[in-house]
Amino acid sequence: MDWVNAIVQGIFVGGLYALFATGLSLIFGVMRLVNIAHGDLIILAAFLSLAVVDGLNIHPLVSLVIVVPVMAAFGYALQRGILNFTLGKDILPPLLVTFGLSVIIQNALLETFSADSQRLQAGAIETASIPIGQGLAIGVLPLIIFVTAIVVIGGLQFVFYQTTLGRVFRATSDDAVTARTMGIDKSHVFALAMALALAVVAIAGVLMGIRTNFDPAVGPARLLFAFEAVIMGGLGNLWGTLAGGIILGVAQAIGAQINPGWQILAGHIAFLIVLVIRPNGLFPRIQG
């Protein structure tokens, strides 16, 4: 029963990893940018929520009303002010600039909030659970996170394939020059994509902060989880990213069940195995 339980919990953690991964996948999909600071932005959102919760004395989930727009605005400014200037044929500039950004965010958080481990206090939902028989129970919070992941991915899927904004994203991604002749402002579109990505990052950061402890140094590990979910799921496939997140969550849960020290290691190894067997991921997007 312990094993079944571990796997069920792993699936639900996968929802959180999928949320981490969605933002990364979105940014890469639209502007071919791999954001090394992605994990640190997740942690930044969690700390932002912490500050809002402490300052206004509100529930962490309510803080999303502030954290999501602030992170989105930050994303817009970041893309427009810095990252747009790094995009081009060469992969080095975006990589190195976001690497620098990662170090800056980590140390700014360290200076502002100290190295102490923090947690967003969410009251009863942290421990509430729904029994599903045979000694198994599903936590309310993991369920909320999992459902959020599905809603966010479904929502992005809708935006990308059913709306004008999505068409603009895809057009700019496919051929920025032709898109420009249609009156599309590339800088603005990319900045909007980053804003959308950081809105998702904000949701992911707050939910993570309620679920686990965090400190300024844990961003890079979140980047790696997000990256692994994206690659395992198959580049450019948002639902695949959810599958990748679940595989990662289950692998970590199985590892932790064998030996607590193997939790993260098992996730990395699952990723490397997928990389050997299916270098393009399990569900690569079919090019149409």
Binding site: L92, L95, V103, E228
Partner: protein
């Protein structure tokens, strides 16, 4: 009808000859440092040497071969741990263990390359980081090596390096100097060779260089493994100086990759002179601002970001834009010896 003027292919320039002369003087000063520098100065110089060596190696990988790895800490850590394991449990002389550390790092580089070479560009970068994390978490599970808290080099092993503390520190200093010189000499020689041309071609366009007969996969693999070997040597040296190792210190992405990347970017990527300038700037900034802790690291990150945005070829790039100087010429130039009348 114009005659073809006599010409020769030359790489040396006046500035490179002056540069070599200055380099030789600096080298003599550095080699005699144990007699004129204090203990703290020697420690700082060793640190400068291994950062310079790591920066040259990363520059070869990313700047010339196009393999942008952010997982070089894997080989620093493997080198360090190999030294500790061989010296503490194998009874191997620590200096001999340094060489073996390079070999072990190169052996591990082969399966690592097999995995990460499946990823391209930026994904390759993060893939190398994942593998480095696997090594870190793996070593944390080995209780013989102290698990997550690490281990110190046993006192009798430390004593076996040399007679007395001063002799040991001097010896480690000279080994560090030799390793950094060797790393630079290898990079320089490689870039001037046929392989160097192949490397530059791969960096500029992989499909084009393949169409001209460059075996890009094999060339990249050879460079990746050679760099891993040398990085392993440097890793062994680093922890021979520190006398203590732990998974977090050995496989630190900040210490062995982020700072190294900043050094290369600030100095100028894709030039041998770049890391030299970068390492000087890095240590000057550090000595000035080290008391500011996190602020110093923010400043360093910001400097690297600004340079990448405004001067992508680094400080050395700014210098060469103004004056045509090169200390380590790898380009070939046609020198016209004499021109005959042209009608």
């Amino acid at each position: 009808m114009a005659d073809i003027p006599a010409y020769a292919v030359s790489r040396a320039t006046r500035s490179s000859r002056i540069g070599m002369a200055i380099g030789l003087i600096v080298l003599i000063i550095l080699a005699t440092a144990p007699w004129w520098a204090g203990r703290a100065d020697l420690r700082l110089l060793i640190e400068i040497f291994y950062y310079l060596a790591l920066a040259q190696l990363w520059n070869l990988l990313a700047g010339y071969t196009g393999l942008v790895s952010v997982g070089q800490q894997a080989f620093v850590g493997l080198g360090g741990y190999t030294l500790f394991a061989l010296a503490a449990f194998g009874g191997v002389n620590p200096l001999a263990a340094i060489a073996l550390a390079g070999v072990v790092a190169a052996i591990f580089a082969l399966p690592t390359a097999f995995l990460v070479f499946r990823l391209r560009g930026a994904y390759f970068a993060i893939g190398t980081w994942v593998v480095a994390e696997v090594y870190r978490l793996g070593f944390a599970q080995v209780s013989a090596l102290g698990g997550g808290s690490g281990m110190s080099l046993p006192a009798d092993v430390v004593r076996s390096i040399a007679d007395g503390r001063q002799a040991r520190e001097w010896l480690v200093y000279w080994v560090a100097l030799i390793i950094v010189l060797a790393a630079m000499a290898i990079v320089y020689a490689l870039l001037r060779s046929r392989q160097g041309l192949a490397l530059t071609a791969i960096r500029d366009s992989e499909p084009a260089s393949e169409s001209l007969g460059v075996n890009t996969y094999r060339t990249k693999l050879v460079i990746y493994i050679a760099v891993a070997f040398a990085t392993g040597l440097v890793g062994a040296l680093i922890f021979l100086q520190k006398l203590r190792i732990s998974p977090d210190a050995a496989f630190s992405v900040n210490d062995w990759t982020a700072f190294v990347i900043f050094i290369v970017v600030i100095g100028g990527i894709g030039r041998i002179e770049g890391p030299i300038i970068g390492v000087i700037v890095f240590f000057v900034l550090r000595e000035l601002f080290v008391d500011f802790g996190a602020w110093y690291l923010m400043l360093l990150g910001a400097v690297a970001v600004v340079i990448m945005l405004l001067a992508p070829r680094g400080l050395w790039g700014l210098l060469t834009d103004r004056w045509d100087i090169q200390l380590f010429p790898v380009r070939r130039a046609l020198v016209v010896k004499e021109t005959k009348d042209s009608g």
